[in-house]
């Protein structure tokens, strides 16, 4: 055990935890004021729900001994045997700390999806969704890539969760947005964000926390953490810039929401590549991310689904780009434990990244559909019309965000 690494990973875990309330602020500011608490709650309560799942069986299914490359077994249920000695995944920190770090990832992933069905889902249905989706979608995909499953064995690179977290949640968001249907008044009424400063602050917290997410994924306070930290910063800055530049070309103005959205797109895109690419590659990944995520958000209105807060455009498309970009830009010079990508003479890696992304998309698509269908039959996904007009704050929680 190494106390420097342990100290670093404790901080990194806390930083990743902070991303979830940051996300709550980010999403909370984007909805109408009558839904601010309902939206914040859907992120915040993941901290409770997923923590319990993680202790009971979550960590075991994701990181326990492998069963046919598909899922972990129940050997580590109730964190049996997960203690203060270094575990199999990180040689220099306590096993329980690795478990805690991974827990923070598992918490934010279902919270990301909530942006797709913002302003219209029952709280009870949401709780059921978080439990089922974490169990049947997050845990297996996490195991495939990081827990000794088939994608990891195939050589898929996903440094901090582009496929496991962002692509996975982005695809689930698309399914959820379509299945819940559009918000009442969509296309007729305007759904103006009620507090953009809150959204910008949330984006800032996300950016800050993301250093724990990406640099922490090195699992030690060493060279790879530095690579990941640096690429995270420059890719994010580049993406914020490219988003507002396209905006200016299309609409004549650069918006703050554009800068915040671009930053999140950059963070998402660099995530899988963070510890494998150099600074220049990171800047390119970021610039392209801002551009294509902006296009994806614009394209939404053509398709007509109501992904309220653009989870598909930002996390889905950004995550897909990041996963593929890792196969293009990865370099062993930056991380000898990684692989070279297509641009460094290894087209095979690009193919592997494509397979990983494709299988995650397909799996998340089908399973999310089944889970939502089951919840719809048993509980009902959507609040009734009266509750939707009244807002989730009052109808679901008997509170209001503001008494001015």
């Amino acid at each position: 055990m190494n106390s420097g690494d342990t100290a670093f990973m404790l901080i990194a875990s806390a930083l990743v935890m902070f991303m979830t309330p940051g996300l709550a602020m980010f999403y909370g500011g984007l909805v109408r004021s009558k839904n601010v608490l309902g939206t914040i709650m859907q992120s915040f309560i993941s901290l409770g729900i997923v923590s319990i799942i993680w202790v009971l069986y979550g960590y075991s299914l994701a990181f326990g001994p492998d069963v046919s490359g598909l899922i972990g077994n129940f050997d580590l249920a109730f964190l049996n045997g997960v203690g203060l000695k270094p575990g199999p995944y990180a040689a220099t920190i306590p096993g329980l700390l690795y478990c805690a770090f991974q827990l923070m990832f598992a918490i934010i992933t279902p919270a990301l999806i909530t942006g797709a069905f913002a302003e219209r889902m029952k709280f009870s249905a949401f709780v059921a969704f978080t439990i089922l989706w974490t169990t049947f979608v997050y845990l297996p995909v996490c195991h495939w890539v990081w827990g000794g499953g088939w994608l990891g064995k195939l050589g898929a690179l996903d440094f901090a969760g582009g496929t496991v977290i962002h692509l996975n949640s982005g695809v689930a968001a698309l399914v959820a947005a379509i299945m819940l249907g559009r918000r009442k008044g969509y296309g007729r009424d305007s759904f103006l964000p009620h507090n953009l400063p809150m959204t910008i602050l949330g984006a800032g917290i996300l950016w800050f926390g993301w250093f724990g997410f990406n640099a922490g994924s090195a699992l030690s306070a060493g060279e790879t953490a530095v690579v990941a930290f640096f690429s995270t910063q420059v890719a994010t800055g580049a993406a914020a810039l490219s988003w507002i530049m396209v905006e200016r070309m299309m609409h004549g103005k650069s918006t703050t929401l554009g800068a915040a959205s671009g930053a999140v797109a950059g963070l998402v895109a660099i995530t899988p590549a963070a510890g494998f690419v150099g600074p220049v590659s990171a800047v390119i990944i970021g610039l392209v991310a801002g551009l294509i995520c902006y296009m994806a958000v614009i394209a939404k209105s053509r398709f007509g689904y109501d992904d309220a807060l653009d989870v598909v455009g930002v996390h889905g498309v950004g995550g897909l780009w990041g996963a593929l970009a890792t196969g293009l830009f990865a370099s062993k010079v930056m991380n000898p434990a990684g692989s070279d990508g297509l641009f460094f003479g290894n087209p095979h890696q690009f193919l592997v990244q494509g397979i990983a992304a494709g299988s995650a998309i397909l799996y998340s698509l089908v399973l999310t559909f089944v889970i939502l269908k089951v919840i719809d039959i048993i509980i009902g996904l959507r609040v009734n019309e009266e509750d939707e007009v009244q807002g989730l704050d009052l109808s679901q929680h008997s509170e209001v965000g503001y008494s001015l």
Partner: protein
Amino acid sequence: MKKIEAIIKPFKLDDVKDALNSIGIKGMTISEVKGYGRQKGQKEIYRGAEYMVNFIPKVKLEIVVTDSEAEDVVKKICEAAYTGNIGDGKIFVLPIEEVVRVRTGERGEKAV
């Protein structure tokens, strides 16, 4: 006696006030109002989606003057509030039947 109601762009208020002072107009009532005319509101853009926000902030001045002053006042407001862009505003001139000064009980033009 006439009442002049002028809806102008908020940033032009000081110019209009100074212009009216220069011709001896001593008092006015102003209020912050919202509305729209031919320009149909302003555009707001959120993640590439354009929303029309119909009501734009304006300032409304209300001034009561004698019949002989009215034309000058209208002219001065027009000059001072002019930018040449859409949304410069409108001026309405209304007849006033009676004016009473509360402190003295004076009536008519003496009370204006």
